[in-house]
Symmetry: C2
Subunit: 449 residues, 2 copies
């Protein structure tokens, strides 16, 4: 292993990632503090600017002010740029870190498509960056077309405006940013499959994570040759989508303020499906979460907490982590020494890592929820929903985001930052130390966090 070159470029990945994101948030905050960013004459206050910049960089989508009226055209452009930087940065950095981890695990052959040199040098970095950009642009373009046509033909937007709407929401969806150009998100299109389905498709693809998308592009028809990581991510995503759709649809079917207000069965199922896709972790909504049953909100909390695929713009503990937990628990209950999944033995380190990520996340969310309830005296279920939404960078809300006060906003800001970077930095910190071990087992490990 030629270790000299990679370490020159990525000597301390964990610190680099944290510094990079903190820097983007700082620059964004400063730009949003400029009077030119705000409508009217006064500038934005510090906490609002910090919250908005963090929400954009972490592609969360929570907002304490109405993006369309509070920020000027310049301010909105800053927000959009931060989303782009954040989403692209996460995909690229996570992929590079995944590459580092995988290579150290002797699994380099699984991702040969990305790089041909043995060490992670400039060539690798460039190929990852280009790969991410190419896949992103491709998906975004493919999704933007039906959206734009639909906005043009069915909703009487001018061709130019329709194209802009199509591109904007396609980009926002693939990056799991969840920012929409209407103040009530996509509520007005709740029963329109030509809007909802392309957006859901972009969200799901983006949420799979870059390594999975890349592998699917290379060998979609040969699932037997997929890596363990891809197998777990794809199958768990399918299960969660079906289960989530059934749960939301059945639960809200007769709620007159949500699904009950829709006429037809297919429309209700479409809305149920949409609200099952978005917690993982895009943050668009076509139903009003403030009107849902508490049970639906709690189920959505679980979906948000699980999140999407690793090394993408999705948040949460990630589906691979979640699935590994089940295999670990299964092995533990049966008293088995080794954890096995899809015919592969899972490295002990990976299982411990998955368990740690999950428990740390439970701990962080619990502590934040208790703190926010203490500060705001708002109902527990709304606070829990908000905290998990921030931690998993989802962006859904029951409408209390603006009401939690300055300290509450700082807690949510911290949650977004920690939730976005925590697991990634953990993995990268581990990746660095992994080198000290000699790996002799024929093992395979999915990405965790």
């Amino acid at each position: 292993m030629h270790e000299a070159r990679p370490r020159r470029f990525l000597r301390h990945p964990a610190q680099l990632v944290v510094l990079g994101f903190a820097g983007a948030v700082a620059v964004g905050t400063l730009l949003l503090l400029l009077p030119v960013s705000r409508t009217g004459t006064a500038g934005a206050d510090l906490v609002t600017a910090l919250f908005t910049a963090t929400s954009a960089v972490c592609v969360t989508g929570l907002a304490v002010v109405d993006t369309g009226t509070y920020w000027s055209g310049f301010g909105q452009a800053v927000v959009l740029a931060l989303i782009q930087v954040g989403g692209f940065g996460i995909m690229t950095l996570a992929s590079l870190l995944g590459l580092l981890v995988w290579r150290r695990m002797g699994l380099r052959s699984r991702i040969t498509a990305m790089a041909e040199t043995r060490a992670l040098g400039l060539g690798d970095v460039r190929s990852v960056v280009l790969g991410v950009a190419r896949v992103s642009l491709l998906v975004e373009a493919v999704v933007a077309v039906p959206l734009g046509l639909r906005f043009w033909w069915a909703y009487d937007y001018s061709p130019g405006r329709a194209a802009y709407l199509g591109v904007f929401h396609s980009v926002s969806a693939f990056n799991n940013a969840g920012f929409a150009l209407w103040s009530d998100s996509l509520t007005r299109y709740v029963t329109d499959p030509w809007i909802c389905l392309p957006i859901a498709a972009a969200v799901i693809l983006g949420g799979l994570g870059f390594p999975v998308v890349l592998e699917l592009r290379r060998q979609l028809r040969r699932p037997r040759r997929w890596s363990l990581h891809t197998k777990i991510t794809v199958s768990a995503t399918l299960v969660l989508l079906v289960a989530g759709t059934v749960f939301v649809t059945a639960n809200e079917w007769r709620n007159p303020a949500t699904l009950g207000a829709l006429d037809a069965g297919p429309g209700r199922v479409l809305a149920g499906f949409f609200q099952a896709v978005m917690p993982r972790t895009a943050g668009f909504n076509s139903l009003d979460y403030a009107q849902m049953h508490e049970g639906t909100l709690l189920g959505t909390v679980v979906l948000m907490f699980i999140g999407g695929g690793s090394a993408g713009t999705a948040g949460g503990i990630k589906v691979t982590t979640f699935v590994l937990l089940w295999f670990v628990i299964w092995a533990e209950v049966r008293g088995e020494q080794d954890v096995e999944a899809f015919g592969r033995r899972i490295d002990d380190r990976a299982t411990r890592q998955a368990l740690t990520v999950a428990l740390l996340s439970v701990g962080v969310v619990t502590a934040a929820t208790v703190a926010l309830v203490e500060m705001t005296r708002l109902p527990t279920h709304q606070v829990l929903f908000e905290a998990v939404s921030a931690f998993a960078t989802v962006g859904l809300s029951t409408g209390i985001t603006a009401d939690v006060g300055t300290h509450g906003h700082l807690v949510l800001t911290l949650l977004m930052f920690v939730g976005r970077l925590g697991p990634v930095t953990l993995v990268s910190a581990l990746a660095l130390r992994e080198r000290r071990r000699a790996y002799s087992h024929p093992e395979e490990r999915p990405i965790i966090g």
Copy 2:
């Protein structure tokens, strides 16, 4: 290792424990269904009898009906007998199972006081049973004396009645059953240290678990020679008591319906301390939980979830499990291969077991909370409090126990049973398979679950 004899008595500990407890619940339910058990002429309905029997056997203390008025004298005697059977059974079985696990781990020398033969035969069983009975009676007698004197001198009870009250609450406290002879629990004694402190002491001692109590009795003055399990349990108990007291006291200090109603500072601190002791997991209360801030309830949920010491009548995931989680997370964040605590390396199996117990518990509580909110449409924070109280066999309630409906009662019954036996049976199932491994490391493992 002479394995022949123990296997005759404990061939399948997991099944034995489950069957034993299910049998006790079944017998108790049948007895409570007899018309003689109920006041008036009609008998109790099935779910009420099942819930009450389960609550008593699992020393939980949740009640769907008022024990003092719904049940006849005979019925109350049945409940008390079930508590005794349950508490004693848990202590004894857990200690026996702990003995099995420890011995297989080569740690027999740590508990030589309990048994002298190398195999776990009749002699061992007898010595454990006698040890549990002796320690229980000793603590209960020592605690009953000040309680009885106080009831006699300060509250004008007759000597006989005062003695009965002293013994009853001492037994209920040491077994962490939390049943009181007043319908508002110990609310009337909220500022009386002569009532609250002896009961708190009995609860804390009983909650440490039998192995710890035994070891403390043998070498209280030589903490350096304590086993890892005792070190962890004692130090974590102290930390949780101090942190819980500060949290409850500070949080409720100005709440006019709880601490704010009390005159003096010391009285408020006493009440805060009492409410910090009882979630782990006795279930007495001297303040009204229905009047507390949601933040205090959430903090109490965390305390209840953590619970008390292993191999005792306390519930929850147990403090050793909780502490191990911190050491695991610490090792993981630092990227270290081995988990170390108090100068000892923790067996990989133990860490995975701790993580599994914690995560399974989070999963069970989450699922039950979502289900109960779905069924009852009651507020999330009250349902979560109730679910954790049942799962950790605490018995505290915000007052919704009777209002969750028949299906809700069945869910709570299941939670109590699973929460009481789940971790124990897991450990015992593992204990059986542990034999297949050859242990060569100089490791030590605390009891988990």
